[in-house]
């Protein structure tokens, strides 16, 4: 990994570092939510499947945070912040995740609806990132190339469950529709063209978030319709996560996640 390679003339490293933090924070906070399912899933197979997805997301988060720290060091002149520095010693306003991943785990239908949206989005993002063959940023492309294979499985898992729940029993149909309804206000935010993303996209380093939307909508609409469900049309839309304006839930996620390292600063574990 050579952050210098990434810091091309067109792109400010600040934008790249913040972009990687945003992607890494999404993956990290959703890991926390998925981790809550372990020992609480509807069947043992799902304890394993959700754990597996959490583990993949955590791996992505670690790679992205580590890289963000390295890129950041090129302009701060300070030693690079490690994955743990970034995960455990940033405050709420410094996190850049979207509101979608912060929401409490809800019932199984909500978690599946969230995973359907998030994995579809991640698949579109990572496959585009990894296909930027002449990417000015081989590190990011490399992280994406590994992740896209994992996310392909996550998306399939969510799609299969969407079908089972939507086209299962009356109760599961009702719950799955309710799950989608609850998740949909958080969809827009994923495709917001932040200043950082727009800057990186114009240099060809990353895809423009809004350009991923059509592919995602086509994919999940097909699944939702096949599951005899409806794509919700929410009136409310979340915004601001990428700028550090979060839902109230994030503070609690962080309090729980960060408590031990912050109680014993300077310790290694």
């Amino acid at each position: 990994m050579s952050p210098e390679a990434a810091v091309t003339t067109q792109v400010r490293p600040q934008a790249l570092a913040r972009y990687c933090l945003a992607l890494g924070d999404d993956a990290l906070i959703l890991t926390q939510r998925l981790g809550e399912w372990m020992s609480r899933a509807p069947q043992i197979e799902e304890d394993m499947a959700l754990g597996n997805i959490a583990l993949d997301l955590l791996g992505q988060a670690r790679a992205l945070l580590t890289y963000a720290g390295e890129v950041e060091a090129t302009y701060t002149g300070e030693p690079a912040r490690s994955e743990d520095d970034l995960a455990f010693f940033r405050d709420e306003r410094e996190f850049r995740c979207v509101h979608l991943v912060e929401q409490p785990r809800g019932d199984f239908a909500f978690s599946i609806a969230r995973q359907l949206v998030f994995s579809t989005y991640q698949y579109a993002l990572y496959s585009r990132l990894s296909r930027l063959a002449t990417s000015p940023d081989p590190t990011l492309a490399g992280i994406a190339a590994k992740a896209v294979k994992e996310v392909d499985y996550h998306r399939d898992h969510a799609e299969q469950w969407t079908l089972r729940l939507g086209d299962g029993t009356q109760e599961s149909h009702r719950r799955m529709q309710a799950g989608l309804d609850e998740v949909w206000p958080y969809v827009d935010e994923l495709f917001t063209d932040t200043e950082d993303a727009a800057e990186l996209a114009s240099a060809g380093v990353v895809p423009l978030p809004s350009s991923l939307r059509e592919e995602c909508e086509r994919r999940w609409t097909a699944v939702i319709e096949q599951a005899t469900l409806q794509v919700p049309e929410p009136t409310r839309r979340s915004r601001g996560g990428r700028e550090g304006i979060h839902s109230e839930h994030l503070g609690y996620v962080l309090a729980e996640m960060q408590h031990i390292p912050r109680s014993y600063p300077g310790s290694t574990w």
């Binding site: 372990m38 020992s39 754990g51 455990f88 299962g168 029993t169």
Partner: protein, 357 residues
């Protein structure tokens, strides 16, 4: 994948799965075909006895005495339940693990325990005991799980202590089961022991880091060792003199060593590891006996064991309530999955009919 990468680790075996027992079980020679063809007698009991006498595996299709089947179902079910109940005290720390690397290792570990539960429920299924039926027995309290999981995980060091002591004791119990006379159980145990061995090393590694850390971290590690040591020794079960099922299980090749034998081996292996960690063990009578080359330990408080076993432990009610809630909350999901599967089967059949017509 999540190997142990601490460079200062002792290179000698850390647990019973690292002393060749698993490999020995894997090298077991299958002479069933020969034995069964030689056995002229059609008597099923004699055939069973001959297989046991020759240290061969009994397979699901074989005839077996009803008491053998029952004993195995009880033991395998209890083992399976222990794996999935064990996910709770450790899962308790997933969201709070103090580094991302430790978090990854812990998620993988809890996931392994779920996998162990699955292998074991499948092994029980080969004896005619379905998973649903066994889970019901767990939820109603008819069947038990290892009483060690009725103790709480109160600090991060407890995650280390569970790996080091609880997985370590479990491995000591389970390595001989890799040679159990019932084939599916023995094979499940081989897979389980290999993974448990990682868990035990990872637990040791957590404590290793703490014991080299700040004074607060050392105190945390010591406190965990103090609380988990005696319950870990109780995991081997009551003393031989009071163990009710042991003799028959030995005769059937289910059990290979007595409770006290395994407990002694565990103590002998673990005390030097505690010394390496710089931890003391909460037993004033613990001392090395040169003559027998064993670590002698004090009296175990069996009244505590019985009390916790009978339901009066710190977490008994919580563990079962948690488990039941997960099961009840998931009922609609499992129903949906079977309803969907039935619809799909019907659609496939219809499509086939239409294709023929």
């Amino acid at each position: 994948m999540y190997g142990n990468d601490f460079s200062t680790e002792p290179s000698e075996p850390l647990n019973a799965a690292e002393t060749g027992g698993v490999e020995q079980a894997m090298a077991h020679e299958d002479r069933r075909a020969q034995l069964l063809s030689e056995a002229e007698v059609a008597d099923r009991q004699e055939q069973f006895d001959a297989l046991i006498a020759a240290d061969q595996r009994i397979e699901p299709r074989d005839w077996m005495p009803e008491a053998y089947r029952k004993t195995l179902v009880r033991q395998i079910a209890q083992h399976a339940h222990s794996e999935i109940i064990g996910m709770q005290p450790e899962g308790n720390w997933i969201t709070r693990a103090p580094s991302l690397r430790r978090k990854a290792i812990l998620i993988a570990k809890v996931q392994d325990e779920a996998g162990h539960g699955l292998y074991l429920y499948s092994a029980a299924e080969t004896l005619g005991a379905g998973r649903d039926e066994l889970l019901d027995a767990l939820h109603s309290g008819k069947q038990k799980y290892s009483t060690i999981f009725n103790y709480p995980t109160l600090t991060w060091a407890d995650v280390g202590a569970i790996g080091w002591l609880v997985d370590g004791a479990a491995i000591m119990n389970q390595v001989p089961l890799c040679r159990c006379s019932y084939g599916p159980y023995a094979r499940a145990m081989i897979r389980v022991c290999k993974e448990e061995s990682f868990h035990q090393r990872q637990g040791f590694e957590i404590l290793w880091a703490l014991s080299r850390g700040t004074s607060e971290q050392k105190a945390m590690a010591q406190d965990a060792a103090n609380r988990w040591w005696w319950p870990a020794l109780m995991m081997f079960g009551p003393p031989d003199a009071e163990s009710s099922h042991s003799e028959q299980s030995m005769a059937w090749g289910i059990k290979r060593f007595s409770n006290d034998e395994l407990r002694q081996r565990f103590v002998d292996m673990t005390v030097p590891q505690a010394q390496k960690l710089g931890l003391t063990l909460p037993d004033p009578d613990l001392r090395y006996d040169e003559e027998s080359a064993h670590w002698r330990f004090g009296e175990i408080d069996w009244s505590e064991f019985k009390r916790v076993l009978s339901g009066d432990g710190p977490c008994n009610a919580q563990r079962i309530a948690h488990r039941r809630k997960a099961h009840e909350d998931g009922a609609w999901v499992r129903e949906a999955a079977s309803a969907y599967a039935a619809k799909q089967a019907k659609r496939t059949a219809q499509a086939r009919e239409e294709a023929v017509a």
